[in-house]
């Protein structure tokens, strides 16, 4: 038996030494070892080993593990923390400039990430504001659609009524459907999208009633309005009891306002503005044929699976109606997840939030945080090296390294707390209104009602405090006191880590500058780009077919009107895509139904063939104009005649139009066909007016409209406004990117400034001696620059490379086709960064230039 094998098992012994209270370790370990050797003789090696292990495990108990700390040490600790705080605050005050840089940088970044967080939060967490949101479900059913089992977010009315009548666990049932109505108050008209529901609505959902009673919708001739809508209708007047006239379908009726409720919060999927009694939808109709969204409120402790199971008996009821829609099963979707899952639920309520803006904002938030944190790490490290004597003294009188680290982290926490508070103020006072303005969202910074925001802020605080504080704390606590006092601790050093962080910051700054410049360029190009037709000087008026002719006659009397044309669906915001066929080839294309003058009036250039001819009757039913893309996709030759089959009618292609953009540039160009509708079907009138008279004519036309005596309100838009939404989005994106770039430049400039100034301060004696010996300012400047030139150059090259890729991707998704990123752009972004960097460094060079060398050398 070798020497080694007669010893107790090593791991058990080590385990014991690890867990055991050092004060007890000696006697305990001695005892178990003695026992081991005794057993070794008595019972043999194997048994002794096993018993030893067993003993060690049995000894693993609290009384042996706990470390005894005496009372005096505890009080001392508290005193120590008080001391840390005091020293931390004094230090902040003593080194004002770098502290300010740190705090401002961090708070800007925190402000940004708060906005990003709140936006993402409001997009992801939806419909949770209802008090009973855990009990509210959307009724769904599954059915086969062309062989596929699909889920639908609605139920037929009889099923909804049966659920309301007799199912255990079901508390209330709310039917909810939307429909367009037109409202008339005095001689003003409004088009609204109204919600039709029953009076349970206010009991189930948490919409706060401002005026009126929650049973407002019990009577069919009463309605409820949202506050903003009520203001729109009546101004500041008390709205309850007012009578308004509403046209539902073809019927017009008077309603009494019985309740006014507060608008739904921004993360609500239900955003009703006008609520009417459900009976108006079912009038003169077979309820079996009507589908409705059905919200089911369950009892507080109802078992959802049980309830769903009991609903399955209704499947046979539905299928017994002899309708085409047969259900496979009935289910429930929690109201909180219905928006998130809206892609799986056909015809449900709510929509899945778009990913792109969230990703962009998350990126910006984290970019800023990275920039600010790196600033902090760099500056804090350099700042701490100035306190090297303090560290030395602390260590000599017995401060442990862990205590020093705690001290630095505490100081760090103070600074970060300042920054978080300041960041919140910035976010609430400045970023939030700006962001709402740009993005058109309505975020509200209400820290007291937003629980998850608290958690986020706390997490952010701890995260930043730790991440930014860890390296400086570790770095400075490592110094050896002997070396510090002997004076040869190399505190300056090369500090490769600092350079790496600075490089990374500058790379991020380059990327964001590039993004900002590109967004400006792309936006400018986008807005000045030709639409492919003449969108200016055209007013489009919506009109019912009966009034089309009278309106046209009146409009033509206006001296500023040059020409008019009619359409059913022209170039506006809604599009009609249909399959079209030539021979065996089939494509989906856009069908525009207009009168004969429309294509020519819109100024879409003709490439070959002719426009529609007014004198030819055949053009009405059998001729179409197509665009270039149509010809290209079908591989047709311009010179020959072709026929196209749309909706089982054959049309002759009489002309080819030049391609134009029907919607945003990123949507590209689709095959398009213009066909002619007879004058009695037209629903909108496009009016071409003389240059510069457009708003004047629009007002005049509104007067003409009022004289016409139609039932509906005057609704018109300018052709050039049809894509305003898209341009506003692009401008918003541009502003966000510009803002990001500015912030990134400021942050990295501040970081650079801090580093350079600390660098200069550290070598101020060096520079003083050099000046005395006759070094020129140029010479000293060069020396300072040398340190940063390589970093700057490297960052610009790498940043440009990465930025080109990233920004390209972003612009692709935002603008569709865009200008390639040119050398000029790259140069411009590099120049901006260089200029900022040089400015920053030069402010410090001024300090050297104007300093009196004798003063810096006189100290001591």
């Amino acid at each position: 038996m070798s020497q080694n094998s007669t010893k107790p098992p090593k791991w058990a012994d080590r385990f014991l030494s690890w867990y055991c209270n050092p004060e007890l370790l000696e006697q305990i370990q001695g005892d178990v070892h003695e026992l081991f050797y005794w057993r070794l003789e008595e019972e043999g090696y194997e048994k002794a080993k096993r018993s030893f292990t067993w003993d060690v495990i049995r000894l693993f108990r609290w009384s042996n593990i706990k470390r005894t700390t005496s009372q005096t040490q505890k009080t001392n600790n508290i005193a120590m923390f008080k001391n840390y705080f005091k020293i931390g605050l004094r230090n902040l005050w003593k080194q004002r400039m770098p502290s300010t840089i740190n705090i401002i940088g961090l708070s800007l970044a925190i402000g940004c990430s708060i906005i990003a967080y709140m936006y993402i939060d409001s997009q992801i967490i939806r419909d949770d504001y209802h008090e009973k949101s855990d009990q509210i479900f959307l009724g769904t059913h599954e059915a086969f659609e062309e062989g596929d089992l699909q889920r639908y977010g609605y139920l037929s009315l009889p099923i909804a009524d049966q659920i309301a009548e007799g199912f255990s666990g079901v508390n209330r049932v709310v039917k909810y459907s939307g429909a367009s109505i037109s409202v008339k108050i005095g001689n003003r008209g409004f088009s609204e999208f109204a919600g039709f529901t029953n009076s349970e609505f206010f009991k189930t959902f948490s919409f706060e009633l401002i005026y009126g009673e929650s049973n407002a919708l019990d009577k069919p001739d009463q309605i409820a309005l949202a506050t903003q809508t009520s203001k729109r209708y009546f101004g500041e007047d008390y709205p309850i009891g007012k009578i308004i006239s509403i046209k539902i379908g073809e019927e017009r009726k008077d309603f009494e306002v019985a309740a006014v409720f507060k608008e739904a919060p921004h993360n609500s999927s239900l955003k009703p503005e006008v609520l009417l009694n459900y009976s108006w939808l079912t009038k003169n109709k077979d309820p079996k044929e009507i589908n409705s969204h059905v919200f089911i409120e369950l009892d507080e402790n109802a078992n959802t699976t049980e309830v769903i199971k009991s609903f399955q008996s209704l499947v046979s009821v539905q299928n017994g109606f002899n309708l085409e829609s047969k259900y496979e099963s009935i289910g429930l979707e929690p109201i909180k997840t219905m928006a998130k899952n809206s892609e799986q639920i056909n015809g449900g309520i709510g929509r899945t939030p778009p990913m792109a803006p969230m990703v962009l904002l998350a990126c910006i938030g984290s970019f800023m945080l990275i920039l600010a944190t790196f600033n902090y790490i760099n500056i804090a490290t350099v700042m701490a090296t100035r306190r090297i004597k303090e560290i030395g003294v602390r260590k000599v009188i017995g401060g442990k390294r862990s205590q020093l680290i705690t001290q630095f982290l505490t100081e760090n926490l103070i600074l970060c707390t300042f920054s978080v508070v300041l960041g919140c103020l910035l976010a609430a006072g400045f970023f939030m209104p700006q962001f709402n303005n740009i993005s058109g969202s309505s975020l509200k910074f209400n820290i007291f009602q937003h629980d998850s925001l608290w958690i986020f802020l706390l997490g952010l605080l701890l995260f930043i405090a730790f991440v930014s504080g860890a390296y400086p704390a570790l770095f400075v606590s490592k110094f050896k006191p002997v070396k510090i006092f002997r004076g040869n601790q190399n505190v300056g050093g090369k500090r490769r880590f600092t350079s790496v962080l600075l490089t990374f910051q500058l790379i991020l700054a380059t990327i964001t500058i590039l993004g900002g410049i590109m967004a400006v360029q792309a936006n400018r190009a986008n807005e000045s780009k030709e639409w492919g037709y003449d969108q200016f000087n055209k007013i489009v008026i919506g009109v019912s077919p009966t009034y089309y002719q009278p309106l046209k006659q009146e409009v033509l009397k206006n001296p500023n009107v040059l020409a008019v044309a009619g359409s059913i669906n022209g170039l506006s915001r809604t599009w009609n895509f249909q399959p079209m066929k030539i021979g065996e080839e089939e494509l989906i294309g856009q069908v525009l139904t207009t009168d004969r003058d429309y294509p020519e009036l819109l100024g879409i250039p003709l490439i070959s063939g002719r426009y529609f001819d007014k004198t030819l009757v055949s053009d009405l039913n059998s001729s179409v104009l197509v665009n270039e893309t149509f010809m290209k996709r079908f591989l047709l030759d311009n010179s020959k005649d072709h026929q196209v089959l749309i909706d089982s009618t054959n049309y002759q292609i009489v002309g080819v139009l030049k391609d134009y953009y029907y919607s945003s540039f990123s949507d590209g160009i689709e095959p398009a066909v213009f066909k002619v509708a007879s004058d009695s079907e037209l629903t909108s009138l496009t009016v071409l007016v003389k240059d510069g008279t457009i708003s004047e004519v629009r007002d005049e036309l509104e007067e003409v409209w009022d004289d016409l005596g139609t039932e509906t309100a005057f609704s018109s838009f300018l052709q050039s406004e049809t894509r305003d939404g898209e341009f506003a989005d692009a401008r918003g994106l541009r502003n966000v990117l510009l803002f990001t770039a500015t912030l990134a430049i400021i942050l990295s400039a501040m970081g650079l400034f801090g580093l350079v100034s600390l660098n200069v301060s550290a070598r101020i004696k060096d520079f003083g001696i050099k000046k005395i010996l006759g070094a020129s300012t140029m010479h000293i400047t060069k020396e300072v620059y040398r340190k940063f030139v390589f970093i700057l150059g490297f960052a610009i090259v790498l940043g440009s490379l990465v930025g080109t890729k990233l920004v390209g991707l972003l612009l692709d998704s935002a603008f569709g086709e865009h200008l390639p990123i040119s050398v000029f752009t790259l140069m411009l972004s590099s120049l901006i960064l260089l200029a900022v960097a040089m400015l920053t460094i030069n402010t410090q060079m001024r300090r050297i230039k104007t300093m009196n060398p004798s003063e810096t050398l006189r100290v001591e």
């Binding site: 000696e26 006697q27 305990i28 370990q29 001695g30 005892d31 178990v32 070892h33 003695e34 026992l35 050797y37 005794w38 067993w54 003993d55 049995r58 000894l59 108990r61 009384s63 042996n64």
Partner: protein, 112 residues
């Protein structure tokens, strides 16, 4: 001071410490118990009881000498205090008083 009632194992170990007089520490107590009663007690239990008895004031302890089998580690020696001795006496007298009151052997019916 905690109550002066002691358990069975506590009493046993207190007695053994008294018996060993000068050389009572974890392992010797464990061995003595095994030799005298045949009972196998785990070392962790011995330590726990020794600590408890010391807390109650029945034992006092100090760090003693080392031996080679312990790898040069010192042991903690335990001594019986006067309170400990008193308690043992008390327990014994209670027990004897009760024992003397037992009826003579054989008068019990062991079967029903």
């Amino acid at each position: 001071m905690k109550g002066s009632n002691i358990g069975e194992l506590e009493e046993l170990i207190l007695l053994v410490v008294g018996v060993l007089y000068d050389g009572a520490y974890g392992v010797s107590v464990l061995k003595e118990i095994k030799d005298q009663t045949g009972r196998e007690v785990n070392i962790s239990a011995v330590h726990a009881v020794l600590n408890r008895l010391e807390e109650k004031g029945f034992l006092k302890s100090e760090m003693g000498g080392s031996s080679s089998t312990r790898g040069g580690r010192r042991k903690r020696n335990y001594y019986l205090t006067s309170t400990g001795r008193q308690t043992l006496d008390q327990v014994r007298s209670v027990r004897e008083r009760l024992y003397s009151q037992l009826s003579p052997l054989g008068s019990y019916q062991f079967s029903s």
